[in-house]
Symmetry: C2
């Protein structure tokens, strides 16, 4: 099914985690008519800090789509201030994960609502509406799934590996604890069923995309889906633009290359987007490939990439795998 | 037993709630050798807000004894800032109870520790040490006791009556919900047993002192105790210096007078302190009375009042009621 045969208002689902994911989500939101984008976000990074429920990837997407993100830090709020963090040090509160005052209000409200019994899906939808975001933002599931990083220094919860230890320990393997008990929420299922295009944002395949695919039923749905599924490589010129993806690949014995991303995700994809820097690899891409500028520095560059992906996808055919 | 017959380092217990209580506690701390004061604090005002455990009277005492209080507001931290409160309004968070950024850190940490299973006594002791306070600060009990205000507009939790409704509804009666299940903590019991003097700070008798006395065993302990027990009137010249005590008295059909305070608490007292403004009432005080300046505007005036109380108490005899 080709995208250009669908209604004038295509319904696009983006899978995202981390900064690259949030950037392309913002580009897609800008490129598409209002309310036609649904972003399904990794929650494997979620954890408790200061007694609050923190959802780093959801918040990065929320803040980017609300244009309230901090482009310098890549996470958190623009024009952030840090009074509470400074005071927490007085009470021996952990300060390795830096929560700013503006950001903190969201964590407080989410935690309060979750403790009242709301689902993370409902809480996230309230927050995005209050932030004036027209796109739907969905956690990959409502059940807790936690990325556990097996390293040469032992097992580390994701944020301890990523923020506290700055990804220094060598990666051996990853687990998504709780994934076996997770389910596709009705909102995720509905978004996937209604999609005309599914975009894998340039997010870390191991710790942003894999947790999403670990939710039982998610990967099968994608393999059987007849809509185009396109991934954007988070690896450009052998490096991750941000984050530990390239380092992880090397530690797992892989070459740090877009082709490694493709090999990792390829069975659910119909098209692959790589940067001009990797144009020489285009012939080795076993799927239809788009070579374009994938580096997003501002909203126009995010929107330009989104338009390029939409145009590329419009000419793609999906080859769904027959249901088992 | 007279105070001046005790050791050079008298052990003083102060009962406190609200701003007047915290002020005299600071005066006593300044007047006494380090670590010789224990403040037992009303927790009937405690409530949940923003999903956090808020203990307004404990915090007012903590901040006053740490010299971090805000003298203009009477509650909260000095040099306070309000970024989180402003952001909470974005998420439709309640803003009628104003939590500043500096103050918020304490509520976060307390809530985290309580959820880990620590008692409020233990949490409070950690916090006062981290704030560099040498005096012991004890919640009146570890069990939740909640002041419920019965008014002509219905029943209101204390903070809703006091802050949200600014004490506008007329008081009919008060309940201390949960008091029947509360117990004297081992720390409160030890402080009372070891005291050479017990001071009732100039706190509201109905909503600061009565909740403390509602803890089963507290009033009996005081009635049977042989150490001097002295109260300072929170009513000066017919008015409460701060708070609704005078208004409450009138609504309960009483005269707004120190004598009403004495009548309310008299069965556990050995001495009563009134302001020069009420000197004409001294003859009507049925207990030994001290007439002095009770208005505390700065630390020297707090300390001066404390010294006057200590000198007054040194000459008092306690007449314990025989155990039933």
């Amino acid at each position: 099914m080709a995208l250009n045969k669908k209604a004038a208002k295509p319904r696009v689902v983006a899978l995202a985690g981390g900064v690259g994911g949030a950037k392309l989500a913002a580009g897609l939101q800008a490129a598409l008519p209002p309310a036609s984008l649904t972003v399904i976000v990794n929650t494997g990074d979620d954890f408790e800090h200061w007694g609050l429920n923190i959802c780093p990837d959801l918040d990065t997407v929320l803040y980017n789509l609300a244009d309230k993100h901090n482009p310098e830090m890549g996470w958190g709020r623009r024009d952030e201030v840090w009074t509470v963090l400074g005071e927490m040090e007085r009470y021996a509160g952990d300060s390795w994960f830096r929560i700013g005052d503006r950001d903190l209000a969201l964590h407080l409200r989410r935690t309060e609502w979750l403790r009242m019994g709301m689902s993370l899906t409902e809480v996230t939808d309230r927050l995005r509406r209050m932030l004036g975001v027209s796109s739907a933002i969905l956690p990959m599931c409502d059940e807790p799934v936690r990325t556990l990083v097996h390293t040469d220094e032992g097992d580390l919860p994701f944020q301890h590996y990523f923020v506290r230890r700055r990804c220094e320990p060598a990666l051996l393997d990853l687990s998504f604890v709780g994934a076996e008990s997770a389910t596709l929420s009705s909102e995720v299922r509905k978004a996937l069923l209604g999609a005309d295009l599914i975009v894998f944002c340039p997010s870390n395949p191991y710790v942003s995309i894999d947790p999403i695919l670990s939710v039982p039923g998610f990967r099968d749905f994608l393999r059987q889906s007849s809509v185009p599924k396109v991934a954007v490589s988070p690896i450009v010129g052998g490096q991750a633009l941000k984050g530990p993806a390239a380092k992880m690949m090397r530690e797992l014995g892989e070459v740090s290359s877009p082709l490694t991303v493709l090999d990792h995700l390829g069975d659910v994809l119909d098209g692959f987007v790589i940067d001009h820097a990797d144009a020489a690899l285009a012939d080795a891409v076993i799927l239809p490939a788009l070579v374009t500028d994938t580096i997003m520095t501002d909203l126009p560059s995010k929107e330009r990439l989104a338009h390029a992906i939409l145009a590329f996808a419009a000419n793609l055919q999906s080859s769904p795998v027959a249901a088992d």
